[in-house]
Subunit: 507 residues, 2 copies
């Protein structure tokens, strides 16, 4: 976009304004990253306020009528450009964001930001104390604000639609429900068939693995996957996430449990997938609305592709198993690759979404998605949520959480964000990851062999070329079609599950 400066003064003016807004938002992201990594406890009160101040300021600046005027002035110029061009895409995506943003009053943004900080604090205290009642009034307020948010976008089919669209542009409650219904129909018999088999033994992963060595091994792995440490770093946190302050600074966070080798390693690979996406975006998009992942689902497709299709594959471990054995000789040297591979792919109906295996994971997501819709519709009250949660776990997964800490209080999403649109992206991402990975293999059949040699370049380059570089240029449905030649479908994911777990569990 170096040419913009010479081509169109209004576009240049728009870009200057967008850069300022981006800088404010990046500072807000750093305030969050710091809060989650290094901030001392005493900083919490002011930090919530500071983040709210910056978010509100960015919103006010983005919804300035001058931006609307610039976008109006640029209509003819945009029409003269090809749809694919960087400039047309910048104008198009900015207009899309602007038209949504102006519907939300700045006072709401500030009110919501401050409420979520309080709700998060209440949850962080309530969760270890298993005290849903303590957070219930906050969550009721969150539901009220989520409805208020949805109602800034009248004309929806389902009240969740505007919130779903915010995360996964183009999707609606009906379209998600339809995909999820198909998926459930296929998944349930597979889960039942596996449940009738002997449970895999994963006890080897629950020996003692010192934190420092786990961290060192993870860093070795993600360096090999292509994470650029000149433009990123990893720090410890309570709930792992990826964040970005510029195209040159894309960071991940992780957590480590010394008695669980799964936790740290796969959360690191997962967040690395998100980071590879952001690091791969065309650097000329820096500080514009194009410089980001195009939807929750597509973002999650990348974290899951690297976590599951790469990190939990036999090919990957053919290369890395000797290395992890060398890192943990007393724990792993007498263990075969095959036993290790089966341990990291153990399927089990369990309580915690983030610990769930590839097969049962989506059942966890669907429970949350359905409950969100019911809460927004008003067919479920917040006070009845723990009971509804437990009933769904009983019916869908055959187990009941022994406490709300392991049940309805387990995920941060509703307590630090909205109710609505928070979860469908996880399952959409799983579906896309399979569809994208199939397309990558079709284009480069050498990828599986290369993985056994520790070479991830072909895969990484293909993803950069086809997905990452475009940033937000194409909305998710369009991107899926461009990249895979087909609309989003459950088939590649189901085929993958049947192939991989069919072999593992001799189904």
């Amino acid at each position: 976009m170096q040419t913009i400066e010479r081509t169109h003064p209004q576009l240049q003016e728009l870009k200057t304004r967008l850069t300022e807004i981006n800088d404010i938002e990046s500072a807000a992201s750093l305030l969050y990253w710091d809060q989650a990594t290094y901030m001392p406890a005493g900083g919490a009160a002011a930090r919530g306020r500071q983040m709210a101040t910056l978010r509100q300021l960015a919103h006010i600046k983005f919804t300035d009528a001058a931006i609307g005027q610039l976008l109006a002035d640029l209509r003819d110029y945009e029409a003269s450009l090809s749809y694919d061009s960087d400039e047309a895409s910048l104008i198009r995506i900015t207009r899309h964001d602007y038209e949504k943003a102006v519907k939300i009053p700045a006072s709401f943004t500030a009110k919501f930001s401050q409420h979520s900080a309080q709700c998060y604090e209440a949850w962080a205290k309530a969760r270890p104390e298993n005290d849903f009642a303590a957070v219930q009034p906050y969550l009721e307020k969150t539901l009220e604000l989520s409805r208020e948010m949805a109602n800034f976008f009248p004309g929806y089919e389902h009240i969740a639609d505007p919130l779903i669209d915010e995360a996964d542009h183009g999707m609606k409650a009906t379209s998600v429900r339809s995909l999820f219904a198909q998926l459930r129909q296929q998944l349930v018999p597979i889960v039942e068939a596996i449940a009738s088999q002997p449970i895999a033994d994963a006890s080897v992963l629950h020996q003692t693995f010192p934190e420092d060595q786990q961290l060192a091994f993870s860093l070795q792995v993600i360096k090999q996957l292509g994470y650029d440490f000149q433009r990123g770093r990893q720090d410890k946190t309570l709930h792992p996430f990826m964040t970005k302050f510029s195209t040159g600074d894309v960071r991940i966070t992780t957590r480590v449990r010394e008695n669980d080798l799964n936790e740290g390693l796969f959360s690191t690979i997962h967040e690395t997938g998100h980071a590879l996406y952001e690091q791969g975006i065309n650097r000329e998009f820096e500080a514009t609305p194009l410089a980001g992942g195009t939807s929750s689902g597509v973002h999650e497709s990348q974290s899951r592709l690297w976590e599951n299709f790469v990190g939990r594959s036999r090919n990957f471990w053919q290369f890395f198993y000797p290395q992890i054995q060398a890192a943990f000789p007393s724990q792993l040297s007498n263990l075969s690759l095959e036993t290790f591979y089966r341990a990291i792919n153990k399927v089990e109906r369990s309580l915690i979404r983030t610990d769930a295996d590839e097969v049962t994971y989506n059942l966890h997501v669907m429970i949350r998605f359905d409950l969100e819709l019911q809460l927004l519709e008003g067919s479920l009250a917040v006070r009845d949520l723990p009971q509804a949660w437990n009933e769904r776990y009983r019916s869908d997964l055959g187990i009941v959480p022994p406490s709300d800490s392991n049940g309805v209080l387990q995920d941060v999403h509703w307590y630090g964000g909205m109710i609505g649109g928070m979860f469908q992206g996880y399952t959409l991402g799983n579906l896309m990851s399979a569809q994208f990975f199939d397309a990558a293999l079709q284009a480069n059949s050498a990828i599986p062999t290369q993985m056994t040699q520790g070479n991830f370049n072909t895969l990484h380059d293909w993803l950069k070329q086809n997905i990452y570089q475009h940033g937000r240029k194409y909305p998710p449905a369009e991107l899926v079609e461009r990249v895979t030649g087909a609309t989003l479908s459950i088939d590649p994911f189901i085929s993958h599950i049947k192939r991989k777990y069919g072999e593992l569990y001799a189904l």
Copy 2:
């Protein structure tokens, strides 16, 4: 200031605006802290821009005519309050800052912020390469901008006055020169007398002291001094500093050399002195212009008081020496407390200001102060600065830097800030530290004995009560008189030097 909300609507409105500005500035400070501690190299380009954006935004918001109007509306109310009251002080200090800020155009703030980021980058590269010529054009621009800054405040006696006043409110080139001339007259014969004695042996400090153990020992020390880790933390950096994001989050940074026990330990105690000041400010001043140290000099008086009057005292080491011996048994167990005490108080005419001892330190500062004035006056050109620097080191300290890296390129100040007002605070701080410490001892004669027992509470409480809690309520000269009953003088400092070093060097 809880009562403000009920008492005066304009004051409440002013406070709301000040809080927003404070939040933007705090975010800018976090951007800086992150750059200096954890930021990957790839983040540098965007980071400079982001800091400039936020600083400019804060400046624009603070110079908004609405703030001027609120201050005008509040004149009668202010006059009805006692001078000492929190509310009157908030209005008075805000007015002082506002009247200065409106003289500086926002475009200058942004231009200067971007230039300093570039100049800093050039210096960071030029210093290890001993290449003054590479940074010279940037420094010439800095000088031009510094003059431009001074000229926003016409009517000065000396062009450096507005820049000196910015750091040390109430001081001017003449008043600083007069104090410095007296000080030099007293110091030079002392330095010469010491130079004629055998040089103390500090080689024990230059054994190998592993970084982790140095850091652990420093943390143990500053915890005992009263640094509140619930409201702060320490991280590693290249050039140590203290920074604050709120009254609940006051951080320090340090650096460690494994072959120099002085470096890490005393830089940690020094920055802790700054941090104790900020942590001790009345918490009701949160997010207002009152929540900060009142001047460079007073801030430095606290870092130097804790570093020198506490950390380099025999009393302090009577308590801590057994502990540091236990931390480094192979290095220190055969060494007497007296030998160690003499090593950490070795006096030597040396090249590097930050490594200088208490006696020669101020000679380094005066060289810089004089050169700043000459540059601003135009009697010295930037291209002649290295030669002028070296000549002054020859005449004042009897040594010539073998390279500009150890000479004119050693300090970040001119390369990351302005030329003018950057250095006098260090010597003013040394003078004040002696005057404040004398007053503390006069009020509590038990302090020296308490230090030998590891008890620093009485001293810390006295400083909180008399200095810290007030924040910026009183300008430096007024604070010194209130606290010590006298105007700022060189006498307490010279007495301290004669007493301590007279004994050490049998003068």
